[in-house]
């Protein structure tokens, strides 16, 4: 033998994610989840090497040895308890010729399995019966001519091992039926369990597998829908030829033969139709009392109602919001207008008071020169008055209201002509310097 080298994998390893960290680049995360105790076959060079290692400096105590034996998972099914049931004394008396009416499962001791029995179980059950009832054994024990039950066993085996014949028998094996629950049974609850087992047994006739289960009160709407869809479209392999009347075997009476054949065909059809109707009724009954369907319908209705109410509420809300919005806009417009008006009025007032202030200050300016007697010694002539007032107006025209106010401030309260004059001349001088007046302008005030 050649020792295998490493296995090769072509699919690449992933790149280390950004930020991955581990102590010495290693992170233990979990552990192995499961193991089974099994027995390795003590054969071959590799096992012997294993045994050498396992036994190295070690002797196993008797306890170790017993424990190991018991802990190992068994692969051989040593007992056939699962297929042991007491034999029915009536069966043991059966006439093998009457095989059509025999319960093949019961004859083999498989009553509790029926259509569920696997091929292996049938073979094992059959063998068990053969061991017990083989005519050669009975002959060896001095019992002769008692192979009737053995023939029944062989017939049961023949039928159950032939997939076609087995289906024909299973089709009419009413002992595998689960009757629909009565009202009384249902009254105690267990609706889903009771109907569930009815459909589980009916499901044995399905051409398609797996057959959806009835489920319980927690089933989703999809599951329930799938269940009823499947069953209302049930595709059954159930046939009824097992119940055929025997067709006469002789070639003489061909008409009679044909007659029986036709009768059988019709009977099969009729039984099939009845069976379909029966299944439909089962479904109707099951669905009629199925609280889940009601619940889903109510939920659907409730959902619909909820949607309608939500829609109405939403519409109402939208309407109200629109109204409120419009009102707010109107209110804002009004307020804005009022504010603008107030503003305008305030501006007007301010303008007016500024105007009044200017007027008042101008009166102070004019009053000051009048107070100073137009800077004339003695009675001022009309020409003096005119010249002075003309210059006052010239200066007034060159300065803005603030400067007027400032000038008026300085002049206010002055009574002495020289003082008044010096204020004016300073102002004229300022204006000349500022270039607003020319040298020689407002001469009467300079």
């Amino acid at each position: 033998m050649i020792m295998a080298t490493a296995t090769l994998a072509t699919q690449p390893l992933p790149v280390l994610p950004e930020g991955w960290a581990g102590e010495k680049d290693f992170n233990p995360i979990g552990s192995l989840s499961a193991a089974t105790q099994r027995t390795i076959e003590p054969v071959g060079p590799h096992f012997l090497a294993h045994a050498r290692r396992a036994r190295h400096k070690r002797t196993f105590s008797e306890d170790d040895r017993i424990q190991a034996q018991e802990a190992a998972k068994k692969v051989e099914s040593t007992n056939d308890d699962e297929i042991s049931e007491p034999e029915d004394p009536m069966d043991l008396q059966r006439d093998a010729k009457d095989w059509k009416s025999q319960d093949h499962y019961q004859v083999l001791g498989l009553s509790k399995y029926r259509y569920k029995a696997t091929e292996e179980q049938i073979k094992r059950a059959h063998r068990k019966k053969v061991l017990k009832h083989h005519p050669d054994k009975k002959a060896a024990a001095g019992v002769t001519d008692d192979d009737n039950f053995f023939k029944c066993i062989q017939k049961a085996h023949e039928v159950l091992m032939d997939p076609v014949k087995r289906r024909q028998f299973d089709s009419v094996d009413e002992k595998a039926d689960v009757d629909p629950p009565s009202k009384k049974q249902l009254a105690k609850g267990n609706y889903y369990k009771l109907w569930g087992s009815v459909f589980k047994s009916e499901g044995r006739f399905s051409k398609t597998t797996p057959v959806p289960e009835f489920g319980d009160e927690n089933a989703t709407k999809e599951q329930v829908d799938e269940f009823y869809n499947f069953w209302y479209n049930f595709d059954s392999w159930r046939t009824f030829e097992y119940l055929d009347e025997d067709v006469p075997d002789d070639n003489e009476n061909r008409d009679q033969k044909r007659h029986v054949e036709r009768k059988n065909t019709n009977a099969r059809k009729k039984k099939k139709a009845e069976d379909n109707a029966r299944l439909r009724k089962l479904l109707d009954d099951a669905s009629a009392g199925d609280e889940r369907i009601k619940k889903f319908r109510q939920e659907a209705n409730a959902a619909k109602n909820k949607r309608r109410l939500e829609k109405e509420a939403a519409e109402k809300r939208a309407l109200e919001e629109a109204k409120a919005k419009k009102e707010a806009e109107e209110r804002a417009a009004q307020e804005a207008e009022a504010a603008a008006k107030a503003e305008r009025e305030a501006q007007k007032k301010a303008k007016e008071s500024a105007k009044n202030a200017v007027k008042k200050n101008k009166r102070v300016l004019k009053g000051s020169v009048k107070e100073a007697n137009y800077f004339a010694s003695g009675a001022a002539s009309a020409a003096d008055v005119d010249a002075v007032l003309g210059d006052v107006e010239l200066v007034q025209g060159k300065i803005d209201p603030e400067e007027i106010a400032a000038l008026a401030g300085k002049l206010n309260g002055l009574t002495v002509a020289d003082e008044i004059k010096s204020v004016w001349s300073a102002e004229v001088k300022r204006l000349v310097e500022a270039g607003k007046l020319k040298e020689g302008d407002a001469k009467s005030l300079a």
């Binding site: 033998m1 295998a4 296995t7 090769l8 994998a9 699919q11 690449p12 390893l13 992933p14 790149v15 280390l16 994610p17 991955w20 581990g22 010495k24 680049d25 290693f26 992170n27 233990p28 995360i29 979990g30 552990s31 192995l32 989840s33 499961a34 193991a35 089974t36 105790q37 099994r38 027995t39 390795i40 076959e41 003590p42 054969v43 071959g44 590799h46 096992f47 294993h50 045994a51 050498r52 002797t59 196993f60 170790d64 040895r65 424990q67 190991a68 034996q69 190992a72 692969v75 051989e76 091929e119 292996e120 073979k123 053969v130 061991l131 050669d136 054994k137 002959a139 060896a140 091992m161």
Partner: protein, 574 residues
């Protein structure tokens, strides 16, 4: 299994491998680590398990088998299965045409005239019969080898009870044969293959179908690092060689009745015995050629019968048996919680495995990735009738130096019963074509006995760099893709015309349907550890070694091949 009886010292042993079947037995020995099956003085390597007494002379093998026609009452056949069994638990079906077993205080016994001047016939227990028969085999082997055979490894079916084992050992000891070890038949078959010099030790799941004369036994075996663990078995008494004989018996009997308008030759014991022998030889001929003759002198009422049959016709008549074998094998795979896609090899063993149809049917049942190791499907297949004897001889040569105590200690369940991991252990890799989809690459497969160590070499990322080793458990499941429903129009029209003549049954529309696609896909399970291998060069490979210890703790090591350093870490036992 404490054997009694003569115990040669290890150095003085001459060892053989021995197969003691219901219908045939065989002997093999090893020479330079190669096993050879020995032919007896009649030139037979398959020696019928039959004893016959005529005028005080004892015949065995092929000669005894021939006496089933003329001397059935004093011919003992099909007794192997009865060794160590109570009368109430035996099936005497196959003894109908030879000495009948009867009940002597629960002991299965045969009564035959084994003396020259038979005043009183002798009643022999099945153990005595076995001892006498084994003695003949040992003599044949000793003559062939030129020295007295002292010891043997004997194969037994996996359902042989402790009582049967003990009785077989006792019967062998009474024939002066030391039994080194009884080994399971399917494992002997695997060992015969694994011991070939060109074989490699691989982890694989093997189905061994041992198709004999009266029974078919199937085992699913996990072969892990050269060690074998049986996962499931099944035993069948309905689809085996004798049932194929029966098909031919029925076929030719009917033909004979039709042709000669006689009574049914199957109802006359002697005619039936002739039919049976000829049916078997015709059946064997049909394994080689596509036509075989069937010819019996004086079948009944002095009428000779000669006929032929072709393989196709035979295969059609035997269809039920062939289909039964397929179903049997499929069912054991299922019993082991596996799918046909999980099976790497199917080894066909036993005489009936020569039948080409059986191997071909299995080739159709299993995917292409499964090797069907049988003469019809595999050029390197070993003669299926010789597998068990070779395996037994190889095992005998491995342990011939052990003293009895050592064999007992080494093969005891305290040594052989260990934990096997339930899930595969491996690492996460990226799909070759799609770097965003992660997949699972197994390194230690499920059902591996611990401690176990496996090494894998895995490609680094395309551009190299730092690499993540994420050690996870993996679970396999079968993904089924249904074919697109076919357009009806496609199948109508011209196509119907040319295939209407070659299929006369109604299966043709089934054949038309495209099969659904089934594939095994891995699911990434529980994360066990993460490790980093840094600075892997572009194009480099990373070697990951996983060691699962006996307590299920795991040691992970990983390194760049050709690079320096690497990473090592330990995951605690659960």
């Amino acid at each position: 299994m404490a054997e009694t009886g003569s115990r040669p010292a290890p150095g003085d042993r001459t060892v053989i491998g021995l197969v003691f079947g219901n219908s045939n037995s065989s002997i093999a020995y090893t020479l330079d680590e190669k096993a050879e099956v020995i032919a007896n003085e009649d030139g037979d390597r398959q020696i019928p398990t039959v004893l016959s007494y005529v005028d005080g002379d004892e015949y065995y093998g092929q000669q005894a088998k021939a006496f089933l026609v003329r001397n059935p009452k004093n011919t003992i056949a099909y007794f192997k299965e009865f060794v160590g069994q109570d009368f109430k638990s035996i099936d005497p079906t196959h003894n109908h045409a030879s000495a009948h077993p009867h009940d002597v205080d629960g002991v299965v016994s045969f009564t035959v005239n084994d003396k020259e001047e038979a005043v009183e016939p002798s009643t022999l227990s099945v153990s005595e019969v076995t001892t006498r028969y084994l003695r003949r085999l040992i003599t044949a082997a000793s003559e062939y080898l030129g020295k007295t055979v002292t010891s043997a490894v004997i194969t037994v079916p996996t359902d042989f009870t402790d009582k049967q084992k003990a009785a077989l050992i006792k019967a062998a000891n009474d024939a002066d044969l030391e039994v080194l070890q009884l080994i399971a038949e399917p494992v002997a078959a695997i060992l015969a293959y694994d011991a070939r010099p060109e074989a490699t030790v691989e982890d694989k799941i093997v189905v061994v179908a041992d198709l004999g004369d009266t029974r078919s036994d199937v085992a699913v075996v996990a072969s892990r690092g050269g060690m074998y663990t049986i996962l499931a078995t099944s035993h069948d008494y309905e689809f085996a060689g004798c049932h194929l004989d029966q098909v031919l018996i029925d076929h030719f009997a009917k033909e004979f009745i039709k042709k000669h308008n006689t009574t049914d030759p199957r109802e006359n014991a002697r005619s039936l015995a002739k039919l049976k022998l000829e049916a078997e030889s015709t059946k064997k001929a049909l394994s080689l050629g596509t036509n075989a003759s069937f010819s019996i002198e004086s079948l009944i009422e002095g009428i000779d019968f000669t006929s032929t049959i072709n393989r196709l016709r035979y295969e059609m008549s035997a269809r039920k048996v062939f289909e039964g074998i397929n179903r049997l094998i499929e069912a054991v795979v299922k019993k082991a919680d596996l799918d046909v896609l999980d099976i790497d090899e199917v080894i066909l063993s036993g005489g009936t495995s020569h039948t080409p149809r059986i191997a071909n049917n299995l080739a159709a049942l299993f995917p292409e990735s499964t090797t069907i190791v049988a003469p019809a499907t595999c050029a390197t297949a070993i003669n299926p009738s010789e597998l068990l004897a070779r395996g037994a001889a190889l095992q005998a040569s491995l342990i011939q130096e052990y003293d009895a105590e050592d064999i007992d200690q080494s093969t005891h369940p305290a040594v052989s019963t260990v934990k096997h991991i339930a899930n595969a252990l491996g690492v996460v890799t990226l799909a070759a074509d799609d770097a965003s989809s992660e997949s699972f690459t197994p390194i230690v497969p499920a059902e591996t006995a611990v401690p176990a160590r496996r090494v894998a070499r895995i490609a680094g990322p395309k551009n190299g760099g730092d690499v993540l080793i994420r050690v996870v458990e993996g679970g396999a499941h079968i993904k089924v893709t249904k074919p697109e429903p076919k357009q009806k129009a496609e199948t109508n029209g011209a196509k119907d015309e040319d295939d209407s003549d070659d299929s006369d049954d109604d299966s043709s529309d089934e054949d038309d349907e495209e099969e659904e696609k089934r594939e095994k896909v891995w699911r990434i399970g529980n994360t066990v550890a993460e490790a980093a291998v840094r600075d892997v060069k572009k194009g480099s490979q990373v070697e990951v070694t996983l060691t699962v210890n006996a307590d299920l703790s795991v040691i992970v090591t990983a390194r760049e091949i050709g690079g320096k350093g690497g990473v090592r870490g330990v995951v605690k036992a659960p």
